[in-house]
Every structure is written in C-alpha cells, then in structure tokens.
Amino acid sequence: MAGIAPTPVLKDELDIVIPTIRNLDFLEMWRPFFQPYHLIIVQDGDPSKIIKVPEGFDYELYNRNDINRILGPKASCISFKDSACRCFGYMVSKKKYIYTIDDDCFVAKDPSGKDINALEQHIKNLLSPATPYFFNTLYDPYRDGTDFVRGYPFSLREGVSTAVSHGLWLNIPDYDAPTQLVKPRERNTRYVDAVMTIPKGTLFPMCGMNLAFNRELIGPAMYFGLMGDGQPIGRYDDMWAGWCTKVICDHLGLGIKTGLPYIWHSKASNPFVNLKKEYKGIYWQEEIIPFFQSASLPKECTTVQQCYIELSKQVKAKLANVDPYFTKLADAMVTWIEAWDELNPSGEAPVEKSNGKAK
C-alpha cells in the first residue's frame, strides 16, 4: 500500500483560541505542537492583571477593555467572568480553522506511551469527510486501516464536509456537578481509539475544552451564549453552542465528528461551585433539548448567519416562557451575528485591532 501522506500543518490557516484568567504556563507543555501557530488569547476577569505568555509564541491578546473597545455596545453579547468569552476569539480571528483549548488541559499519552499531538488529529478530522447519514460500524471510514462496512450504500461514501471536530479528555472527565459529587474520584482512563460522525438528527453535549472547527463553514454558530457575571447560569456555554451548531450543521449538510484526540484534563473544578452555576441549567435543559430536537430551519436559510438569526427567533418564541433569560439570550444571539458580520465583512480585508501582539 502507498505511504500515508503527512497531515498538513496548516500553520497559516489555523488560530488557537485560549480563554484564560490565571496564567498560560500550560503552553510550555504544548510548545512542540503549538509553536508554529498563531494564538488568540482572550483574557477574562480583571483587565488590569497582566497575563504572562511564555516566550516564543506568536499571539494577540484581548482583555475586557479591548472587547468593549472593539465591539462597543455589542460587547454585551460577550460573557464576563466565564470562559464563554472565548467566542470573541473566534470572531476576531481571520483564519479558516480554529482550535480552542482550556488552560488546564495538557498533552495526553496514547496507550503506547507516545505524546498525542491533539492538533494534528483535529486537522485530520476536519480535512476528511464526515458521514452523518448512515452509521458506519467501524467508525470513521477515512482513517487508515479502516473503511466502509458491507451494506454501506456507495452513494453515501463521499461524505460531507466536516465542520467540527470534538475531542475528548483523559483523567478528569467532563461530568456535571451532581455526577462529580457522587463520583469525585472517577477518572477517565479508557482510551477509545475511534473518531466517529455524530449522525444527523442526533444532539450531543459539546465540550469546549478540546474543540476544533472550520470557521469558514460554521464560525457564526459558535456563539457561547450569556454566562457568568450577571447571568443566571454558567457551564452551559459550550452546550448551547453545540446544540445550535448541530441543528445548523444538520440543516446545511455539514458533519460533526467526536472521539480522538484526547487531551489530559488536569483540574477538577469545585463541584459545589459548579452546582450553583449549573443548577438552573439542569432544569432548563429538559425544555431546551426538546426545543432543539424539534427545531427545523426553513430551506431559505442557506448561510450560517441566516440559520442562526432564525434560530434566535425560535428561541425567543418558544423558550421565553421557560425564563426571561432566554429572551435576553435570543437578543444576544442577534447581537453576536451583527458583531460577527461587522468584524468579518465578506470580501473585504480585515482590520487588526488587537492589544499586546508579540514582536
């Protein structure tokens, strides 16, 4: 068999977006894998604090002052005191692909003991097709050493473009607060050597800890909502983005993959703090999920922005009676799209307005 082509590095086509409130020491461990790439750091919390970025990285850094300055009144859609603020990084990026990672996530090892290049796997996932219309029992058929199984229709073997690559985590699993309270010592030690497409019509809980996406295909859908300071919930930012993104991907014929790569999640957040943040979300999601499961977009919506605006209308119409928060959120969704389009006008060269670019 012919040699396997190396995965393109895409160093000028991918930005790494990192939200942080403390420090970026974790980047040292990632240096061999991240150094070729441009970083967009979104500093949450107190803007007067100086976040030290390790030497040698090419980055732009935005704090709350920058966000306010750049977006003006539209800055209201960007969360404060919550890692949801990271979506600002997606908006200001000019690259085709985004990889976002939390600052308590480190390089994991595969079962052979080798360091996992998470970014390389995400790129592989994004550059190969997804197969949302029929489940392949051997998982991603485009991976080396595997293929479509008997019975898989040939007409579906070309697949569709992959818009999102959702990675997983070893060590501290991404559990909600009640589960954390019941199983404080559980660690995810199982390395599942698979990537698979989440089928059309199926929702999933998207975790923002280790996530990559094609910004050109789906960027505007990756709004992480209103969380944190002054908001009634937290820890549902990535979930919200995931549900919106999945509905829109299903509508537009794009694919979402989950599975490899793994990163090592080192920090267990405080379950009691989490419980306070998630509490309302746990009840609200019982209404939110049926909403998304039955959401349908008219065929006139052919761009992500159109789909998203339409979704915001449906949120306002159908979820407002769950809590007034959803009316606010629906408005914020519209603000987000307006801000996105302003910063990403089609056909024009983008203007840099960042703070703290490394020389």
Binding site: P111, F134, F135, D147, D176, R190, T202, P205, M239
Partner: protein, 447 residues
C-alpha cells in the same frame, strides 16, 4: 470463572441427545428423570413418542408434572409426524423456578456452513460450554457435521427444518439464513449468534474476549438512543453521562440488539476487500455505544446478540439475492434484517448497541471471485437505505410481529415494483411471522 458442568449434567445432556434411541427410561433415579424431562421440554424435543417413554416409567413426580403442565398431543394439519406438543397457557413459571430448571436464559445459535465444526467448537469451548447451543446445519451442506462432545446442544438439519416448515415454504433457510431456524426453535430470552468461521479475539491487553458475556452485558444494561453520550456507554465501569446530558434521558431503554465487531477480516463488501486485499482490521476500539434513534446502520450477522422476547420475529431471513452464496460478501440478508430491527426498535422504544465484543474472523474466500459473481446486493442497498430511513410505523403496531407485517406491506408497495427480490422479501416476511407465531406458541413456556 465459570463452573464447568457436572458429570451428572453432562450425562443427562448426552441422554437428551440420544433420546430417540432409548426405549426404556425406568432405570433412571427419579430426580434425574425429572431433570431429563425438563431439559427435554426446554430443548423443544418432547414428541409423543418421547412423552410415552416418560409416562411408561410410572414415576409419580414426572406424571404429576405432566398433568400440571397440561401436556397434550395436538394435531396440527400442516405438520408432519413428529409434531410438537402444545403446553397449556396456564403453566406457572414460578413453580418451574422452584424445580430449578432455569439454568441460563441464553441460547447460542450457530449456523453451520462448514461440516467440520471441531476447531470452531474447541476454540469457543471455554465460552460456550455453560450454555445451551443450537446448531443448524445449512440444508445445502452434504457432509455430516463433526462436532466435539461435552456441549449441551441441539442440532437441526434439513429434515428437521422440513418437518417444521414444510418443503415448499417461501421461507428459505439455506446458507447464512439457516441460523434463523435456530432463532425460531429457541425458547430462550437471549440469543447470541456467531459465524462458524470466527474464533475468540484478544483485547488490547492480550486477554481472550468472552463475546457471549459482553453481548449479555450489552443486552442487560440500558441503551441511550435519544441523546449521544460523548463518553459512549455511560453504564460501563469508569464512565458516566457527561455534562449536558439531560437527566430525564439517563435511565435509558431496553437494549434489544447488540452488534459486535471483527478483528482480522472485517466485514467489508467484495469491492472494498478486492481493492484492499491486504487490509486487516487490527484496531481494537474499546467502546460500546447506542446507535441513536432514527439512525440506520448496516447490521452484520457475523457477531450479534439479541433479546428474542423483545424483537425475535424482527430478525428474519427474507432478503435473498438471486446469486446468494456462502461467503458473507455474497449476501445482504443480515443487512436487510438489521434495518428491519432498527426501525422496529426505534418504533417500540428499544435500543441497539454497536461496538464490543470483537471476534476474530478467519481468512476465507476470494473477494475478486465473489465480485465477478455478485453485484446485485450492492446496487439494491441504494434503494433499500432510503426506504428504511423514511419508514414509519403506525401506532397500532405494538409488537414486533405487528411491525414486521406493516413493514412487509410497505416493502411490497414501495420496493416491490423495483425488483422481484423485494416482492419476494415482502411475502417471506409475512410467512415468517405466521411461522413464528405458530411455532413459538407450541414451544414456548407461556409466562
């Protein structure tokens, strides 16, 4: 790990195997006679001749059991001489439990496409020996079956099939479809079925995989088809539902079908295998996951387990290709059957899991040769998949049987005009349900 069967138990099983050659049972101690009688019942081997044998012993316990169970010979016109006996619907299972006959609830059904099953059975002995096995010989196989001893099993051959089904039924049990006769004859709740060219595989730690145990685990833990869990099966040790998974969906539903995988020779179609002749599946993916609702998948019959009580009639030998052969890539009967089961599970609220266990599939056949012979199946999948994806059953269909009948009507109407294979499939599905109802009514112990 598991206790090997006792010498007495093995002896009773051997007696059961040879029951048709025994003319007198009165020498047996009563407790052994009772055990033999109950195993005969469970194996579905109680014919009038054998009943007379037990009655002739004059032993009280056996006689009172026969009277309690209200066993009477029944004359059914469509059956030949060795008819099965109908058990009274008033049978009390609880009482049976007291008599301790419920060993396992599992039947292992093997379709024998090869006559010499010695190495196959020896490789699986450690896993199979505690269970009852049903071996169905492909009616087209000329040579006698060679099976090693020490197993608790029943063998069905062409003549048995013809006795039950008649020689001119639309339901054809040849080739890979012979195993469906085993599903029909089983009285157990769970069935595990593995192709006779597969042996136990080893996991990523080098340990031999007990495929049967894994299928049973899959079938006896809930499935979660309504929302995807990114850590896969949340009921596995060391895993759980992730953040964002709705709490109301965390109890899951009954799993009715467990689809296992294959190391070495994966289940590819002939073109794929022909294009990549050296490709072997060496990737052990340590996951079981629920296939989401309304998502179709290609179910491979090579390594499956299912809950016969929930979906038994939905696994059906209906879709036969014109040039169907004795290699998996010359058939799609299991793919058809699997999609029927998935639609039915989605409708009835049951789950389907895919992933572990793996079996090791041995090298066999020439993909290129098969490719020269058979293209039909591949072309037909193009029509079949959209049909199943859009198939919706009515609220009136509340059992698997009802669902199959409704599906058969839809197949006849929508696919029938496209190819005679589909029209035949629709007919066979209806006939299969009829057969299923008649046979299981006569053989099962009503709850």
């Amino acid at each position: 790990m598991r206790k090997p069967p006792t010498l007495v138990s093995l002896a009773i099983d051997t007696a059961l195997l040879n029951l048709s050659h025994i003319s007198d049972l009165s020498f047996l101690p009563e407790h052994i006679l009772l055990d033999l009688f109950l195993r005969t019942l469970r194996a579905g081997k109680l014919t009038e001749k054998i009943l007379k044998l037990f009655v002739a012993t004059g032993k009280d316990e056996v006689l009172s059991l026969i009277s309690e169970l209200n066993i009477q010979p029944v004359l059914t016109p469509e059956y030949k001489s060795n008819f099965c006996l109908r058990l009274s619907a008033s049978l009390n299972v609880g009482k049976m439990a007291q008599v301790n006959i419920r060993d396992d609830e599992v039947d292992i059904v093997i379709g024998a496409l090869h006559s010499d099953l010695t190495s196959f059975m020896e490789e699986w002995r450690a896993v199979f020996s505690r269970f009852h096995l049903i071996i169905v010989k492909d009616p087209d196989l000329k040579e006698d079956l060679k099976i090693p001893g020490g197993f608790n099993l029943d063998i069905y051959k062409r003549s048995d099939i013809e006795h039950v089904v008649g020689s001119s039924s639309t339901v054809v049990f040849s080739g890979y479809s012979c195993r469906y006769f085993g599903y029909l004859m089983s009285c157990k709740k769970y069935i595990v079925s593995i192709d006779d060219d597969c042996i136990p595989a080893k996991d990523d730690m080098g340990e031999l995989i007990d495929a049967v145990a894994q299928h049973i685990t899959n079938l006896t833990t809930p499935a979660t088809p309504f929302f995807f869990n990114t850590l896969y099966d949340p009921f596995r040790k060391g895993a759980d539902f992730v953040r964002g998974y709705p709490f109301s969906l965390r109890s899951g539903v009954h799993c009715a079908l467990s689809c296992g995988l294959w190391l070495n020779l994966a289940d590819y179609d002939a073109p794929t295998q022909a294009l990549k002749p050296g490709q072997r599946n060496s990737r052990f993916v340590d996951a079981v996951l629920s296939v989401p609702v309304r998502v179709m998948l290609p179910v491979s019959g090579i390594n499956i387990g299912f809950d016969r009580e929930l979906v038994g009639p939905a696994l059906l030998p209906a879709f036969r290709l014109a040039k169907e052969g004795k290699f998996r890539w010359e058939t799609v009967e299991d793919i058809w059957s699997g999609m029927c089961v998935k639609v039915i599970c989605d409708h009835l609220g049951f789950g389907v899991k895919s992933g572990l266990p793996y079996v090791w599939r041995k090298e066999r056949g020439d993909a290129v040769e098969s490719l020269k012979k058979e293209w039909e199946g591949i072309k037909m999948m193009e029509e079949v998949v959209p049909f199943f994806q859009s198939m919706r059953l009515s609220q009136a269909a509340v059992t698997a049987e009802d669902c199959v009948i409704e599906m058969a009507a839809a197949v006849k109407e929508r696919l029938g005009p496209l190819d005679p294979t589909f029209a035949r499939a629709a007919e066979t599905m209806v006939e299969w349900v009829r057969l299923w109802k008649v046979v299981t009514a006569q053989m099962s112990i009503a709850a």
